[in-house]
């Protein structure tokens, strides 16, 4: 996915759902699309409820995954780590 190639490709073509969902979504959310593409994408979203639904659920998925995959290192593991490293370093001296 290269924003400048994408912009060249879509300068003249009609933006379809497949283009947005498969090619442009990541760059759109990363805010790395050019202004022209952003305007065309957002104009499409205004008239396409399925694409708007896809975008909103995609964003929510990203946010939910960020918290679901965020385990905390147990305190006892931190203690074991220090003990492990001290012991191994002593052995290696």
């Amino acid at each position: 996915m290269n924003s400048s190639n994408t912009e060249t490709q879509w300068r003249h073509g009609r933006m379809m759902c497949e283009d947005i969902i498969m090619d442009l979504l990541v760059d759109y959310l990363d805010q790395t699309l050019g202004d022209d593409l952003v305007q065309r994408l957002e104009a499409h979203l205004k008239i396409c409820p399925p694409c708007m639904a896809y975008l909103e659920t995609y964003k929510k998925t990203r946010d939910l995954a960020a918290t679901a995959a965020r385990p905390t290192m147990p305190d006892e593991m931190k203690v074991r780590l220090k003990e492990f490293l001290i012991a191994r370093l002593r052995e290696e001296k």
């Binding site: 996915m1 995954a65 679901a68 995959a69 385990p71 490293l85």
Partner: protein
């Protein structure tokens, strides 16, 4: 921790002062664990990876040239170690992504049942989005992602690293990182939509 402080800790470690390890562990151990657990999906494996990473840090500190930030170097070592740990287990768990990606009609519109296409659960009550059932659906979906896709998802969406830093950690191109990230998110979105849509 300021970069100057971190550099002095690295120098101390290079000079054999293992006392410099503890402040580095305080700074990085939780991050290493999160990334390791995100990839291996297993607490015991993640703990082994954390131990391996810090032993590698001690043994190979002389090879760390300091051109990249220490954090980037640690992410790379962690990602490699965790993917190696996961390698033997992948066939039994991981799914084919193609089954979960959207399909399209010749006219470029998404294919599928209209009610599914219009399903927007993003504004559902928090109690539904944060329920135990939804959490389990999401965790299972993450578990079933192929290792490299899960690694990208954790690096980008959990750890918040840039595309460039994720690419460096994985030894891949930025375009590969973006492609894998997008496909991983689409798979999770599909699973959540199946679970959360009304009816």
């Amino acid at each position: 921790m300021e970069s100057g402080t971190e550099l002095s800790l690295i120098e101390r470690l290079r000079n054999g002062d293992t006392g410099a390890l503890e402040p580095l562990m305080d700074r990085y151990a939780a991050r290493v664990y999160r990334l390791a657990h995100g990839i291996t999906r297993n607490e015991a494996d993640a703990e082994e990876v954390v131990q391996d990473v810090f032993m590698t840090l001690v043994r190979k500190i002389h090879a760390f040239e300091g051109r990249a930030a220490l954090g980037s170097w640690i992410y790379r070592v962690t990602t490699n170690a965790a993917l190696m740990k996961r390698r033997g287990k992948r066939a039994s768990v991981e799914v084919s992504l193609e089954d979960y990606l959207p399909t399209f009609l010749p006219d470029g519109h998404r294919a599928g049942d209209q009610s599914f296409l219009l399903a927007d659960w993003s504004q559902s009550p928090e109690q539904d989005l944060l329920s135990r059932e939804t959490g389990e659906v999401l965790r299972r979906a993450i578990d079933e992602l192929p290792g490299h896709y899960r690694a990208v998802l954790v690096l980008r969406d959990v750890e918040g690293v840039s595309n460039e830093e994720a690419a460096e950690a994985l030894g891949e191109s930025v375009s590969s990182v973006k492609s894998r990230l997008h496909r991983a998110r689409m798979v999770l979105r599909e699973e959540l939509t199946q679970h959360l849509r009304p009816g």
